[in-house]
Each structure stands twice: as structure tokens, then as C-alpha cells.
């Protein structure tokens, strides 16, 4: 394998880890309560803007902007849960699309209203601190995002599988009534899920803002990628999202390099439909 091809694959893996990072919140909500959040991309976008505001307007720098974005978007998640999601869950599945799509428009254009249409960037994202390792060039900000992405995914996985909170949350997602009989408060667990998902999404936004320019419509394309990643991985599966994210990242990168960049979507969507044909529950979803 030529050096360039290694570079392409590594670029794809870094990209894929970022996909996994901003999809983990979506898959958590999806798995916990079978709700697809159509405003997910806009949560990411608001995470990016939070980072910009903290960093540039308030002079916070990177170490303040990432936790701040986590807190802001987690709060947004909890608010969305209590004011909207809790209620639309009583209706048909369509109500979720209706409600979260309305929320998406509200947030997206609220951001346009608040921040303007012009592209914004974090001040020293240019620095990037790229480094060369074994002949391969790494872009610092992407490596950071990928590493944190893996960390967040792993942390979410541990919380869900190894902690008491996690097993309570899973109990609610399996059967809310039964969980309630066991003394678990379903709404509290679901709100917690929205907070965790929001925090992960906020972190994702703040890190993506390191290397992507920020505009109110930034969430649009990211949302579609997240949908595909999550359903390819199997909904509710955090590790599935990671595997799917890495897979999509590498496939996109390789297709773009070997075949041509316009075909990467064609290949990814075809692959996605094919996988669902053989595994309707996604790569790592429960049958």
C-alpha cells in the first residue's frame, strides 16, 4: 500500500471517529426511547456556536469551550425533553418527526437570527498543530476530535453497561411500566438520557468547530450523516455507531480518492441499503 493510500485511510478513520462522536447522542436517544431527533444536526450546530461564543466573545479558550458546549447542549436536551419530547411520545411515531423537525427549523433559524449568516471560525483553528508520524501527516484538531470521540463513545458504553444508572436506563427503555414498578422513575431516566446525549453532542460540536467553518446550516449535512451512521450501526448501539462511523469514514475517503469525490455519497448510501437488506437491525443492533 502506497504511503498516500495509508494517508487516505487514516484520514478516513479520523473522519469516521468524528462521525461516531456526533452520532453517539442520536443513537442513545433512539435506543432509549425510540425517538429520532430530527433536530440532532442543529444541536451539533449550536454546540459549535457555543464554542465560538465562549472562545472568542468571552475569551474562554478551548478548555472552557468544550465543557461549556457540553453543559449548554445538555441543558437544551433536557429542556427539549420536558417541553416537547415527553409529550410527543404519547402520540404516533409521526409526531416525533413533526415536533423535532419544527424544533430543527426553530433552532437553525434562531441561530441565523442570533449569529447572522456569515461563516464563523474559531480563532486558532488554523494552527491545527499538524504533525508528521511515520511519514503520515496528522491534523492536530482532527486527531483531538477523533480521540475525544473514541473516549466519549467508550464512556457512554461503560455507563450503559457497567453502572447502576445505565442498567436503570436500559430497564426503562425495555419496559417503562415494569421499571416503574421496580421503583425507577422513567421520566427522570429519560431526561438523564437527553442530558447525556446533549453533552456528547455539545462536545462533538465544540470539537468539530476546530476544523469546520460554522454557519447556521452546518447541521443539515451532519444530520443526514448521523442518521445513516446510527441506523447502519443499529439503533441504540453506541459501539455500533462507532463501527459504522469508522466504516463510513474510510469508505468515503477511499471512494473520494480512488473513484472520485462525487461518488462517495452514492457508494455510502448504496452500502447502507445493502447492509439493511441483509441485516435489517443494522450492524450491531438487536434483532
Amino acid at each position: 500500500m502506497s504511503m498516500t493510500l495509508v494517508q487516505v485511510v487514516i484520514g478516513g478513520l479520523l473522519l469516521g471517529a468524528v462521525y461516531a462522536l456526533f452520532s453517539s447522542g442520536l443513537t442513545l436517544i433512539w435506543g432509549m426511547m425510540n425517538v429520532v431527533n430530527f433536530a440532532h444536526g442543529d444541536f451539533v450546530m449550536l454546540g459549535m456556536y457555543t464554542a465560538v461564543v465562549i472562545w472568542t466573545s468571552l475569551g474562554g479558550g478551548p478548555w472552557a469551550s468544550v465543557p461549556a458546549a457540553a453543559i449548554v447542549i445538555a441543558t437544551l436536551g433536557v429542556i427539549s425533553y420536558f417541553f416537547l419530547v415527553r409529550h410527543i411520545m404519547k402520540g404516533p411515531m409521526l409526531a416525533q418527526i413533526l415536533g423535532t423537525f419544527g424544533l430543527a427549523l426553530f433552532l437553525r433559524y434562531g441561530a441565523l437570527w442570533a449569529f447572522g449568516a456569515n461563516f464563523k471560525s474559531l480563532p486558532d483553528n488554523l494552527v491545527g498543530h499538524s504533525f508528521v508520524l511515520g511519514g503520515i501527516r496528522f491534523e492536530g484538531s482532527r486527531v483531538l476530535a477523533a480521540v475525544v470521540g473514541l473516549g466519549v463513545t467508550f464512556a457512554l458504553h461503560l455507563i450503559l453497561t457497567r453502572t447502576q444508572i445505565g442498567s436503570r436506563m436500559l430497564a426503562v427503555s425495555e419496559n417503562a411500566t415494569a421499571a416503574q414498578l421496580m421503583g425507577i422513575r422513567p421520566q427522570r431516566m429519560q431526561a438523564l438520557a437527553w442530558a447525556m446525549a446533549g453533552a456528547a453532542t455539545g462536545i462533538a460540536g465544540a470539537l468539530i468547530a476546530l476544523f469546520l467553518p460554522i454557519s447556521p446550516t452546518a447541521g443539515e449535512t451532519l444530520a443526514i450523516v448521523a442518521f445513516v451512521t446510527v441506523s447502519l450501526g443499529g439503533f441504540g448501539s453506541v459501539t455500533g455507531a462507532l463501527v459504522a462511523g469508522l466504516l463510513i469514514g474510510v469508505v468515503e475517503s477511499l471512494t473520494a480518492y480512488l473513484v472520485g469525490p462525487i461518488y462517495k455519497e452514492v457508494i455510502v448510501y448504496t452500502l447502507f441499503v445493502l447492509v439493511l437488506w441483509f441485516r435489517p437491525q443494522g450492524l450491531m443492533g438487536k434483532a
Partner: protein, 332 residues
């Protein structure tokens, strides 16, 4: 005559004379036509998305095929655009079979996500096709040659054409609703497993509904082309076109005959008026208001506006649609 009869009759008369009432205002007259056009698309979607409960978020595929068939009829064959409508319907039926067979096996959100992916796939392919004008898109007749080009200054002819088409689709939907197929579709929506155990060939009927729905959505696309005279991949196959059909039907009441029409009656004027009066400020207030109103309706009437008028309390929602139990209403 009771009010239950007078009200529908009055509404029908209003629908028939609306363009005459709005003679003075081209904008409001046109808005009437736009409401009907949106209602055609959303009503077509309703057949598979509402009645059969298969939430497609990729119906723009069929809308785009209708629009492109019409423009291709003009650009490549020199025919009036509307002549492409039957072609669009035929292609849509075929494509619906092709898409439906692999995707309709998927349950719940997986189906929705797969239809999004197929929609995006078609959009990308269309933008690379020279035959379809690539990313630049194709235009219909710049100037009407004959009346068959359906290119009018006034919105009145469009209004009545759309009204007839909508009536046709609603009539057919009504007929399906009352017949065997409607019964099967409701059974599938309530619980696919139960329907199968009763001997309903769920896969087959879902596919029928999908094909039928695709064909009529394609008509909406063809009519759109006649009215606007131009199509490109984004305005034909864009994901927003798909989502708007879903949102309209859900807002009015999916799986109900007049649900999509009610949704269109709310959303189209809302979008047009808010853009007219707020759009010029250039701050996106249009969609902030539009989004907020959708959120409020979804929050308080998750089953759509028509659920306001249901006499019986809403029957318990089918379990199948929601494997994860919603939180119970107990105080937490």
C-alpha cells in the same frame, strides 16, 4: 339540515369559489393553488405513510420523477410538459417496487432512514446526469406555445386543475379506506405481526400502497413543473420536499382523509405569509415562527389537528409502533 351537513357543504362551496373571491389579489389566489398542490403531494404520501403507517421520508424521489418526466417530455420530445405525467407515474410505480421490496421489510425508523438514504442517492445521481440537465436543472417552455403547456398568468386555472386532481386522489383514498385494502392497511399499521397471523399478506399490501402513493406523488411533481416551469435536483429530490410532505400530513392528521389538506391549509399560508411579511428583514424570522408553530402543535396535538374534532377519546396507540413504552403519565 344539521350543522354536520351545513359545514362541509359550506366548505365545499368556499373551495369552489375561492379563486373568484380572491380575484383582486393574485397572491392570495396563487396561495390557494399552492395549498392544493401541497395537499396533493401530502395526500399521496398519506396512503402509505398515514394509512399503512410506513413513514417514508424519501417521497421526494417520486415528486422529482414527476417533475423531471414532465420537463424531459418537453426538452427531449418537444411535448407539452403535462404529457410527461403518465410517464412519471409509470416510472414511479416501477421505482416504488424497486425501492419498496428491500426497504419495506424494515421496521419503524429503519424504513424512514432507508428512504432518506434512497432519496439522497437519487438526488446525487440526478445531479450527475446530463440527460436530466445535471445540477443546473432543466426548464419547461419559456413561453407558452399552446394552452396545453399549462402556463398561465393567473393562478385560477391551476387552482381548478389542482382541485380536480386532489378530489380524484381523495376520492380514491376514500374508496380504498372503506374497502378491503383499507382494512388490511389499518391492520398492518396497528400490528404487522397480528395482521400476518390473520392471513393478510402484509408485504404485498404495503408494496401496493407504496406504489400507489408514489404514482400520485409523481403527479404532484408534474403539476409543480407546469406551474413553475423549472426543476433542478434540489427542488425535485431535496430532502426538504420529502420532510414537508410528512410534516403536512402529520400536522393535519396522518391516516385521515382530510388530514394532509388541513396540514397544507395551515402550513402553506403560514410559510408564504411569514416569508412575505418577515422574510425581508433577512434574519430568518420566517422559519423561527414557522418552526415554533409546528413545535407547539406537535406538543399539544401530537396526533394532528384533526384529533381536536374526534368525538371519541383517542384509542390507545398501537404497541407495535412504539416498542419502547412511553413514560406513563404518573407524577414523577
Amino acid at each position: 339540515m344539521s350543522a354536520r351537513r351545513i359545514v362541509p357543504l359550506a366548505l365545499l362551496v368556499l373551495a369552489l369559489i375561492y379563486p373568484v373571491l380572491t380575484m383582486e389579489s393574485a397572491v392570495y389566489q396563487r396561495m390557494g393553488a399552492l395549498v392544493l398542490l401541497a395537499a396533493i403531494g401530502a395526500s399521496a404520501w398519506n396512503i402509505v405513510g398515514g394509512y399503512a403507517g410506513q413513514v417514508s421520508v424519501g417521497h421526494a424521489v417520486f415528486f422529482g420523477i414527476g417533475a423531471y418526466s414532465s420537463v424531459v417530455a418537453f426538452v427531449h420530445l418537444g411535448l407539452p410538459p403535462i404529457a410527461g405525467a403518465p410517464l412519471g407515474m409509470a416510472i414511479s410505480v416501477g421505482l416504488a417496487a424497486l425501492i419498496g421490496v428491500p426497504t419495506l421489510r424494515l421496521s419503524g425508523h429503519y424504513f424512514s432512514m432507508a428512504t432518506i438514504a434512497v432519496g439522497e442517492l437519487v438526488r446525487v445521481l440526478a445531479s450527475t446526469s446530463d440527460f436530466l440537465g445535471g445540477a443546473q436543472g432543466l426548464g419547461g417552455p419559456p413561453m407558452p406555445r399552446t394552452v396545453l403547456d399549462l402556463s398561465f398568468l393567473s393562478a385560477m386555472p391551476y387552482y381548478y386543475i389542482f382541485l380536480v386532481v386532489l378530489a380524484g386522489i381523495l376520492g380514491l383514498t376514500w374508496w380504498i379506506e372503506r374497502g378491503r385494502m383499507g382494512f388490511y392497511l389499518r391492520a398492518i399499521k396497528d400490528s404487522e405481526r397480528a395482521a400476518r397471523s390473520l392471513g393478510v399478506s402484509a408485504g404485498r399490501y404495503k408494496l401496493y400502497a407504496y406504489m400507489l402513493s408514489g404514482a400520485f406523488t409523481s403527479v404532484a411533481g408534474s403539476l409543480y413543473l407546469c406551474m413553475f416551469g423549472f426543476i433542478d435536483p434540489e427542488s425535485g429530490f431535496g430532502i426538504l420536499i420529502s420532510v414537508k410532505m410528512v410534516v403536512m400530513a402529520a400536522l393535519g392528521g396522518a391516516g385521515q382523509l382530510f388530514g394532509p389538506l388541513v396540514g397544507a391549509l395551515i402550513l402553506v399560508p403560514l410559510e408564504e405569509l411569514s416569508n412575505s411579511y418577515l422574510g425581508g428583514q433577512g434574519a430568518g424570522i420566517t422559519y423561527v415562527v414557522y418552526g415554533a408553530i409546528i413545535v407547539i402543535i406537535a406538543r399539544f396535538l401530537p396526533s394532528g389537528l384533526l384529533s381536536l374534532f374526534e368525538r371519541k377519546p383517542v384509542v390507545a396507540q398501537p404497541e407495535a409502533a412504539k416498542p419502547a413504552n412511553p413514560a406513563s403519565g404518573h407524577a414523577d
